[in-house]
């Protein structure tokens, strides 16, 4: 059963966020970031509100939102685990770590666990290429990650 995790929000709140940034040159990305920061995602229902305020079409806002990997339509799990899949991490066994993480969290990349505990994501470079393989757990960077560390993270996020 798919869990409906859509956040509650009011159009007024979205409009207030848009107002906060509308004096910027090219305000759409900062607005989308701010909406996601507050609601945990950019719900489909927020797009027409943003579009109306910026005098854009809904398709234009949807086009921008869906272009970027960071923006999500549904909120992520309570914890976020991002594992770098790029070359420097590959050279240090990153693929092995990625497979281990998939098995341990029982989700594929881009998925949220059914209990909503964790979202596993691929990331292409965290700039930690001299202490690979690297990951980011709830916004905090982790270097030289190994199977034991993944197990420890799994134990923590499942609490």
């Amino acid at each position: 059963m798919a869990l409906d995790l859509s956040p509650d929000f009011s159009d007024d709140r979205i409009e207030a966020i848009v107002d906060e940034f509308s004096n910027l040159e090219g305000p759409l990305l900062p607005i989308l970031h701010a909406v996601q920061e507050e609601l945990g995602c950019v719900p489909r229902e927020a797009l027409p509100v943003i579009a109306g305020k910026l005098n854009l079409s809904r398709a234009e806002v949807h086009g921008v939102m869906s272009f970027y990997h960071d923006f999500r339509e549904q909120p992520a799990g309570r914890h976020s685990v991002k594992i770098c899949r790029a070359e420097a991490c590959q050279s240090m066994g990153g693929d092995r770590i990625a497979e281990h993480a998939k098995g341990r969290f029982k989700v594929d990349f881009g998925e949220t666990a059914p209990d909503g505990s964790v979202t596993l994501e691929a990331v292409y470079c965290l700039g930690l290429c001299a202490c690979a393989p690297a990951a980011m757990v709830d916004g905090k960077v982790v270097g030289r990650i190994d199977e034991a560390r993944i197990d420890a993270i799994a134990a923590e996020v499942r609490l």
Binding site: L24, E25, G26, P27, L28, L29, P30, L32, H33, G63, V64, F67, Y68, H69, D70, F71, C84, A86, E87, A88, C89, Q90, S91, M92, V123, Y124, C125, L126, G127, L128, C129, A130, C131, A132, A134, M136, G139, K140, V141, V142, G143, R144
Partner: protein
């Protein structure tokens, strides 16, 4: 008297436990009744020694590393507050061969100063370049940068001074300096290190660029994968504004310049300058056809300088010490210094700033110390995901824009990723296509479709389906992508693929995995 202890706040050090070390030192100092000041400096760039803790003693700074929180009690027992001997003692950091043999011009302060102390910055020669620039005519600043021979450090290697002159000569109601801090190439972290370790040097470089081109507004397009750099950069801009470095009157002059950080949203292609400009405008990060050049019609259609972080951060020292001083380093048409980032499966990974001209072998074997796993080096990818894989046979290639181009490679943003003999180059070639497919902006057909078809064709080779025919097809496809793509993503993805095919042909024809499939 208070003892100053440096515990890096660089995210590479944080990833290895620097916050825990700082906390443990603070607690231990309190329980020992020791009066200490903990400074969260940048990294010196020796990641195998991070977290590297330094103590300021009467005889100079003394380093210890790599330190874990568990080492802290024994460091206190060893009297490390006065430089006492310990198993983790490294002595004077400046005397460590990895640091001592570098020529640090751009990274002169990184790892030494408190990144958020403008006083510290000025005490270490900061703002000298900008002070000179405010007294100069714009065209003289541009001439100095042109004479220095500085070329864009983002990868393309375009002469910075010429780009600036184009913007200076362009007419427009508003001009912009856009700093490309979308450092997405795997194996690179120089931009991150300088933004976290010496943010004022980037601010100073951007302000000089503004004075040189009559641009009054700057943007730093900073990738969202770098939250620590975003935080530090924003704090530094706030301080610079407060102290009159930025704002309506730069250092008390009649010229204004201000900077805003804009956060990316996880699209690799936004490191390409025209795609970055679209993203900055709030659009999809789709590549624009050139011309028009961004220098003529850039951000919001106005004249815009788009420079990489390291290009801009190299400008203050050029203004301070002169074009000749900078140009005298390097070889051929590659002048000055380059911060080489040694990454991946390597014993001594980190940042090594030096004049152009070292050979790839010297970088990997001598400075990098070979692989971390101790196995022989098989391949080195230089220049990120769009860079070529070089075998040992090409280790005599000097680190220089033209020398690498001659060998069908590129130095790009100067990332060097080392692979040991367990690397499967067929798999790496497949990844190059896969990555290009994931990150393609979709604007041009060779990149959008070519990357997908490329990955599929490599899959067929892996499965042993019409191998020779499909290898030929990959080669043909690479040619189409190289010549027909709009930007470097589709245009350069063939580099890793073709270099893997050319230099590691065995992995494509005698791969044990392939035989099993047949």
């Amino acid at each position: 008297m208070t003892v100053t202890i440096y515990v890096p706040g660089d995210s590479g050090a944080l990833a290895l436990g620097a916050d825990e070390v700082a906390k443990a030192i603070g607690e231990a100092a309190a329980s020992h009744g020791a009066d200490v000041t903990i400074v969260r400096n940048g990294s010196r760039g020796m990641y195998w020694l991070e977290p590297m803790v330094e103590v300021a003693t009467a005889e100079g700074r003394v380093a210890y590393g790599p330190v874990t929180a568990g080492d802290v009690p024994s460091l206190f027992s060893a009297g490390f507050l006065s430089g006492g001997d310990h198993a983790l003692s490294l002595g004077a950091p400046d005397e460590l061969p990895f640091l001592k043999n570098q020529t640090r011009l751009t990274f002169a302060r990184c790892g030494i100063v408190d990144p958020l102390s403008l006083e510290d910055y000025e005490a270490h020669d900061g703002l000298k370049g900008l002070r000179k620039a405010v007294a100069m005519a714009a065209s003289d600043i541009v001439q100095t940068v042109t004479d220095s021979g500085l070329r864009g450090r983002g990868g393309a290697g375009f002469p910075t001074g010429i780009k600036w002159k184009t913007v200076l000569d362009a007419a427009g109601p508003q001009k912009y300096i856009v700093c490309n801090a979308d450092e997405g190439d795997s194996g690179t972290f120089a931009d991150r290190m300088i933004m976290e370790g010496d943010p004022f040097v980037l601010i100073e470089g951007m302000a000089i660029a503004g004075l040189a081109t009559a641009a009054t507004k700057g943007y730093i397009y900073l990738r969202s994968e770098y939250p620590d750099a975003i935080r530090i950069m924003n704090a530094a801009i706030g301080i610079a504004r407060e102290k009159g470095v930025l704002g309506a009157s730069v250092l008390g002059s009649d010229k204004g310049f201000d900077i805003e950080v804009r956060v990316g949203a996880g699209a690799y292609v936004c490191g390409e300058e025209t795609s970055l400009l679209n993203s900055l405008e709030g659009k999809r990060g789709v590549v624009r056809a050139k011309p028009p050049l961004p220098a003529h019609e850039g951000f919001l259609g106005r004249p815009t300088v788009v420079n990489n972080v390291i290009s801009l951060a190299s400008v203050p020292v050029i203004l301070d010490k002169g074009a000749d001083y900078y140009r005298d380093f390097g070889m051929g048409r590659s002048r000055g210094t380059i911060p080489i980032q040694i990454a991946g499966n390597v014993k001594h990974g980190g940042l090594y700033e030096t004049a152009f001209g070292l050979t790839l072998g010297e970088i990997v074997d001598e400075i990098g110390g070979g692989t971390a796993t101790g196995r022989p080096v098989k391949a080195v990818q230089v220049g990120g995901p769009l860079g070529a894989y070089f075998p040992r046979a090409l280790f005599d290639t000097p680190f220089d824009y033209e020398a690498f181009a001659e060998k069908d490679g590129l130095i790009g943003h100067a990332g060097v990723t080392v692979f040991d003999e367990t690397a499967d180059m067929l798999k790496q070639a497949r990844f190059a296509f896969e990555f290009c497919a994931i990150e393609s902006c979709g604007k041009c057909t060779p990149c959008r479709i070519g990357a997908v078809r490329g990955a599929e064709t490599v899959d067929k080779i892996m499965q042993g389906i019409e191998r020779e025919k499909n290898l030929e097809l990959v080669e043909d496809l690479c040619n189409t992508m190289k010549l027909g793509s709009l930007c470097a993503l589709g245009g350069f993805a063939p580099y890793p693929v073709m270099s893997a095919l050319t230099h590691f042909a065995d992995d494509f024809r005698n791969n044990p995995f392939l035989q099993a499939a047949e």
